[in-house]
Subunit: 348 residues, 2 copies
């Protein structure tokens, strides 16, 4: 029978438990880096977004000519008030040659993980080598994955935490307390957490123009990993921080709409990260440069993630088959092979 | 637990068996007509299409401000050579207020059914009242649903069949032989099948410029239901047929790219069907007019279909719940409520 693989939230957790989260983050980071290096092979467009008073629902498609993928993802800042995640998602992988859907997977969890992996791809190219300290501003749903990815893959072992909600910080510290070699420190202000951090990751969630990071907080050589500003009207970083920094984005057409750089004129210069990964453009020019990765998330990162989990799920026999597409004996006989067959078999 | 309803191919067959295919077609036709009448409440865009050498993969989103839906659908003309359907699809319904995905459903079968229902909506508005005869040109996967919908909902009981593949016609006749009151006649040429038919439905599949219908075949008062031309380069009707007829489309921006009217200059006049359904514009002006519905399929038809099957599946307890979205005790604790919880529960 023709089946589509379904990976539920529990299936993805099981898969990550098999592989190990650090190993999974490592594999995913390497794959994203490899796919960024072949960026020009992908079909790209800004995501389709349907805005409402409460939030946004988006579709993010891409294809490399062999596989097609898309992600459904929402952003509803008030969802936590009714016990729902702000961001939920699922994805699909399909065979370009036949159009067959091969995989449907949860992507709420996978989106957080691929965002962290992409942040590491950027930091590998842009941060000063040997950086060991990071401020983590915003200790919500994304934060553990960011902290773990930077610790496991880049050796960032001193993390300075800040959140306006102290309970969020406590939650992060409790979740990661068993990670040997990782030193977490809670701070009373974002300024304190940023002081003496070589990398600054901002991951806050409010849907408004915020200034989590202002120019006075910047220090020479800093790398800023700004992942919270990701839709029109939502930014985290003061425009003067952008002016001071060398700014890198995933896909310029999308970042101009959704990223921190929506605050800047269209002529504000940015570099697409893949160009640095592919060796076509320089990243950081001097150890004193301030670099900033204005991350909004891009379809290719989801593509890479879906390809990896499909491969791992097949290897570890995780997930279940669902009957998403009819199994037809005669492709011209949709009626006879569906409602007709069902009727015959019910009668029998 | 937060669950998403999944409706497999078998679930949709079961649902249709419960409700009855004629009743399901009837309900769906009425719903599509009602949604076309409130067309302006929907968010609309031409579908996103990813073209490859072998075919196309499309995403068709829409929203009425309360529900958001999209369909994934492919079109691969050579698929039958390897035993796969030309067109496969699935759809998703999500709550606009929260972004929650509520339903994932097969839509290979549902697309054929909603296409037939939409054809009836058009014929109700455009064909001469009392038409009882129809030519069915192309007897593939769509044809039984078209014939049944026109018979059950409009009383079209004399159907003249033609297909270049005589086995397709035999299959159609075998599938519908038990339908009391429906008279099916196979013809050796499309010309023969069209002669004396008041309605002509064309549903052929080859991906090229075909001329299934040429001007000499037209008779005064005919209504043409052209559903086979649905992507760039694929048309069924000779351009002079379009010039002679009054042409109606679903969504003009999409029909100009994908419909029969891709053969005509951009200034060629068309009327959107919803305007006729809503009473804003006339359909047929005289019994001798030739009307033509240039149908390519539109997202609102899928939206209506998904809303109806969700309602019916809930009522008849059909389908299964899938864990597509994490059930979080603390929405800021994605890590602890997913991989963390899974680890704790595995150890316990």
């Amino acid at each position: 029978m023709r089946k589509t693989l379904f990976l539920s939230v529990s299936d993805i957790c099981r898969l990550i438990e098999f592989v190990g989260l650090p190993q999974f983050l490592g594999q995913l980071t390497d794959r994203i880096q490899a796919d960024f290096a072949r960026w020009q092979e992908f079909e790209k467009c800004p995501r389709f977004a349907s805005y409402s008073a409460e939030g946004v629902v988006e579709l993010m498609p891409t294809s490399d000519g062999s596989m097609f993928s898309f992600k459904f993802v929402n952003g509803h800042p008030k969802n936590p008030l009714i016990g729902l995640p702000t961001v939920m998602g699922f994805g699909c992988l399909a065979d370009v040659a036949t159009g067959c859907p091969l995989l449907i997977s949860e992507m709420t969890l996978l989106t957080a993980i691929r965002t962290a992996a992409t942040s590491v791809v950027a930091a590998r190219s842009l941060a000063n080598k040997g950086a060991r300290s990071m401020a983590m501003i915003g200790n919500g749903a994304q934060s553990e994955f960011q902290v773990l990815a930077f610790f496991e893959l880049l050796g960032v072992n001193r993390v300075n935490l800040f959140d306006t909600d102290a309970e969020a910080t406590s939650k992060l510290m409790a979740n990661l307390q068993g990670v040997a070699g990782l030193n977490l420190t809670a701070h009373a202000t974002s300024r304190d957490s940023i002081r003496n951090s070589e990398i600054v990751t901002t991951s806050t969630a409010s849907k408004l123009r915020a200034s989590v990071l202002v120019p006075e907080m910047l220090e020479d050589g800093m790398h800023v990993n700004a992942i919270g500003g990701d839709c029109p009207g939502k930014t985290e970083v003061h425009p003067d921080v952008l002016s001071r920094a060398k700014v890198f984005v995933e896909f310029e057409a999308q970042a101009r709409i959704e990223g921190e750089i929506q605050q800047m004129p269209p002529s504000f210069p940015v570099t697409e990260l893949w160009e640095v990964v592919a060796g076509l453009k320089p990243g950081r020019l001097s150890p004193s440069d301030v670099t900033l990765f204005d991350s909004v998330g891009f379809s290719i990162e989801d593509f890479t993630t879906l390809c990896l989990v499909k491969e791992l799920a097949d290897r570890y026999h995780v997930g279940s088959d669902i009957e998403l597409v009819p199994d037809m004996r005669n492709v011209k006989d949709l009626y006879g092979d569906s409602v007709g067959r069902f009727r015959r078999e019910s009668i029998r």
